[in-house]
Amino acid sequence: MITEETPLHAPLEIGFDYTRSLGPVLAHFMTQLANRRITGIRGSDGRVHVPPVEYDPHTAEALTEFVDVSDVGTVRTWSWVSHPVEGQPIQRPFAWALITLDGADTALLHAVDVDSTEQIHTGMRVRVRWADEPVGHITDIAYFVPADAGEERGDAPTPPRPPATERAEDGTVRTVITPIQLDYTHSVSPEESRYLRALAEGRMLGQRCPECEKVYIPPRGACPTDGVPTTTEVELPDTGIVTTFCIVNVPFLGQRIQPPYVTAYILLDGADIPFLHLVLGCEADEVRMGMRVRAAWKPREEWETSLQNVSHFEPTGEPDAPYDSYAHHL
């Protein structure tokens, strides 16, 4: 019987700079923002959409008639944020609002910098506070302030600015870059936790499916064949074979080893599922299917709950395993 321990978890931060190309409508809108002007577009019913829409909401025809609007407008509705989340336009309590700019018929969603809910109301007049260095991005409108706020109202704390993008020869903004950062608490399953804790002790711990009797390392929450939890633990040696492999010749961002090098599927002795790891300790062109290998562990003081405790696998020099012995693991 396996005793339950709290599964391992760790902070996980992921980020990506989304780079999006713009069609003719949003390219014009963003280019105007970079010039501290706001432009809408006229729909088939004569209404001016701000932000501009690319296609008419009623006829679905492509729209082309741009209309400049004011950077002053009226709050149609608002809601209050006591605890701003990362990336929001104002990094202290503020109001979101739908704002109809003078000359527009639809409302723009943006932030309004006021100190409390007492200082904002539907119907209130607000004005754009422009970012110091517009780049052609919706955040060039840093936020709105009450229309009667003087210049003496200091700047609100704002998030980092998005990067400027390369423009067309005539100055048109052609792309926008929006960096996205997300934070999670990543958890591993109870089975993976036991496997990772065993690795921290220099042990390889797999689990056997109670139905098909296959041994999985890393263990899975459920056997992918039978859909039942894997329960019986199996200690495995740190030796095995290469089932298949590839030689990496292509450099890429974040690469830790100079190409060419070999990544291979390693099938530990007694396991039924191979995992991906590095094969070093011989020339890349000497690696072959069926080659016997052993784990090369990092120094014990560097061990943590990770398969990275094994820096790589290296040849043992034993005779190769016959193809038939691993054919069903390919």
């Binding site: 959409h49 990336g87 979101w96 969603l109 399953s189 992918p224 859909g227």
Partner: protein, 351 residues
């Protein structure tokens, strides 16, 4: 062409925070087992599998592939996935059975909302050019919608609190609910606003959960249960992604979906409203009179597992047919900000 019916429904306990992984396996394995036990079916009886979940919620790419471990995908299965609430996965499975290619399908949805900051993650479903980069959180957007209705006289704080009080009271008999309780409207209104104009009771909880619905062609369904919940209407519609050009106090897409699905005569409705005022919008758009029982399960205000809560509405409504409580029911699911996209299912107990 055969009708399609719901023959089974199971859901994981809805909780604020599970210790499980974001691929949902730990929530799904027992829930799938429960659905198989209910229907007497096994893995090999299922002709098509379809799921709904989100990589943004999970914080990892292709998280739904790992979830497939929970269903056992060898020998290979006939499987699909939508990056939406699993109510839309059920739509795909319904179409699949209508083609005649399969006569059973299993639909599941799961979400571990607690892994990240849900209200922030949800801003990634917005327009990525002019809205998303500002990170408008889901609660603030709902607040903009709620205030429009409050200030225009379309609804009141009291009506919103009544929705919360009724939902939480109904949830006291739902052993899978995350929140439940008996609270008077006056007590609820005495609580402070937390995201002006919203109070805590107006906002669905952050929920980790999963649910499973089993479908079968009508003939097959009658072999599985005495009273299958036959799908007699199934439609979904969408409103503009441009928040500032919509009338946020109305839901034209819900109205259009209901008109196409044909909802006359429904006795009961399970509505997917993650905010109290959104139930008021939906009831109005659907034209539900006071005789229609709404959300006997407690609805999304009692538990709102992302990417499963809409599917759960269909399962809960179908349960009322299968156990003989109702003859014709409606289930609704929503997706996107401020009720942007809406799906309406009508289920009947046809003899």
């Amino acid at each position: 062409m055969s009708n399609v019916a719901v023959v089974g429904f199971a859901q994981a306990p809805n909780v604020r925070n599970t210790q499980g992984t974001t691929n949902g396996v730990e929530m799904l394995v027992p829930t799938l087992a429960e659905a198989f036990e209910q229907t007497g079916l096994s893995k090999s009886d299922i002709g098509f599998w379809c799921s709904g979940s989100s990589d943004y919620l999970a914080g990892r790419a292709f998280s739904f592939i790992s979830a497939v471990d929970a269903i056992g995908a060898f020998p290979p299965i006939n499987e699909s996935h939508v990056e939406m609430d699993a109510a839309w996965a059920l739509y795909e499975a319904w179409v699949k059975i209508l083609t005649g290619e399969v006569d059973t399908a299993l639909v599941y949805g799961f979400g571990k909302s607690s892994a990240g900051t849900l209200r922030r993650v949800l801003s990634l479903q917005l327009d990525p050019y002019v809205a998303g980069p500002l990170w408008p959180d889901s609660i603030s957007i709902a607040g903009l919608q709620a205030r429009l209705g409050l200030e225009s006289g379309r609804w009141t704080e009291e009506a919103m609190a009544e929705v919360a009080a009724r939902s939480l009271a109904d949830a006291t008999t739902n052993d899978r609910a995350q929140r439940s309780g008996d609270a008077e409207v006056a007590e609820l209104l005495a609580n402070p606003v937390v995201a002006d104009p919203l109070r805590a009771h107006d906002i669905a909880p952050v929920t980790d959960g999963a649910s499973v619905v089993v479908l079968a062609a009508e003939e097959r369904a009658r072999e599985i249960v005495d009273r299958p919940a036959v799908i007699t209407g199934f439609e979904h519609r969408i409103d503009s992604p441009s928040l500032g050009s919509r009338d946020l106090t109305d839901s034209p897409s819900t109205r259009a979906a209901a008109a196409a699905a044909g909802i006359d005569g429904v006795e009961l409705a399970e509505l997917h409203a993650p905010f109290t005022h959104q139930e008021l919008i939906l009831r109005e758009a659907l034209g539900l009179d006071s005789g229609v029982r709404v959300n006997p399960s407690g609805g999304a205000l009692a538990a709102n597992p992302m990417f499963a809560a809409g599917l759960t509405r269909i399962g809960e409504a179908a349960k009322q047919i299968i156990d003989g409580t109702a003859g014709k029911v409606l289930a609704h699911a929503t997706s996107g900000p401020a009720l942007q996209q809406n799906l309406v299912t009508v289920l009947e107990g046809i003899r």
